[in-house]
Symmetry: C2
Subunit: 135 residues, 2 copies
């Protein structure tokens, strides 16, 4: 509870962007409630997400806009966008095309469970990545 969001500000200015101009984004499947990914947005990607109603993130590794599904076809159709009490995170509710959000071919990126003192893959691969990322 650092600084509460001021809803009277212009909506993009009300958010607390980090030192790199980014905000973390939780994406959740609207139907099942399954949390699919944690990704990042800058102002441009959030505005673009609202404009086209599809999730557009900022890829920190590639340092460019990342239109989710641009290679895999696994587009996320945005149903709802929320922020939290202090405006430093976003929550997208989406319909996940193909039922696969993860580049490993799983429904969700959160497939490693802690068991004892190890991470164990707990979810099945639904589609071989070789069949997702075809040239």
């Amino acid at each position: 509870m650092s600084h509460d969001l001021d809803p009277s500000l212009p909506w993009l200015d009300a958010l607390h962007w980090d030192a790199d101009g980014l905000i973390p984004v939780i994406t959740q499947e609207a139907g099942s409630g399954r949390v699919l990914t944690l990704a990042w947005m800058n102002r441009e990607s959030l505005a673009e997400t609202v404009r086209c109603r599809r999730a557009v993130y900022w890829s920190r590794s590639r340092q460019r806009l990342w239109r989710k599904g641009e290679e895999s076809g696994h587009v996320q159709h945005v149903r709802d966008i929320r922020t939290d009490c202090d405006g430093d995170a976003l929550l997208l509710s989406v319909e996940q095309e193909g039922g696969i959000a993860c580049h490993t071919g799983r429904e969700s990126c959160f497939f490693f469970r802690v068991e004892g003192e190890q991470w164990a893959a707990a979810d099945p691969v639904l589609k071989d990545p070789k069949d997702i990322y075809v040239k």
Copy 2:
């Protein structure tokens, strides 16, 4: 998809901690699937969360361990801990004591919805914060 998590590493070393030694943590109600908060952990808070099966975060504003519920009584009992494909975020599944995660007295911190070009509070206050944070 920067660097995939290597599950053969010791579990705390397998995670990708940021420059401040932190990792973002999504917390989700086990029963309803509602996303409650996005908070942060360092190694010590994650180890402590596993040890006592209650959510212990790192408060960035107070720069100290934050045992969720220490003031409000709204403890989070941890049922499951997951990480994602590249090990740079955590997902906790919890039972939220009191049914309130937010310091504003709401179930979830994600109560602001974007409507047009404004953030609008979309969820009811379940308990007046004055009655939560009593000395």
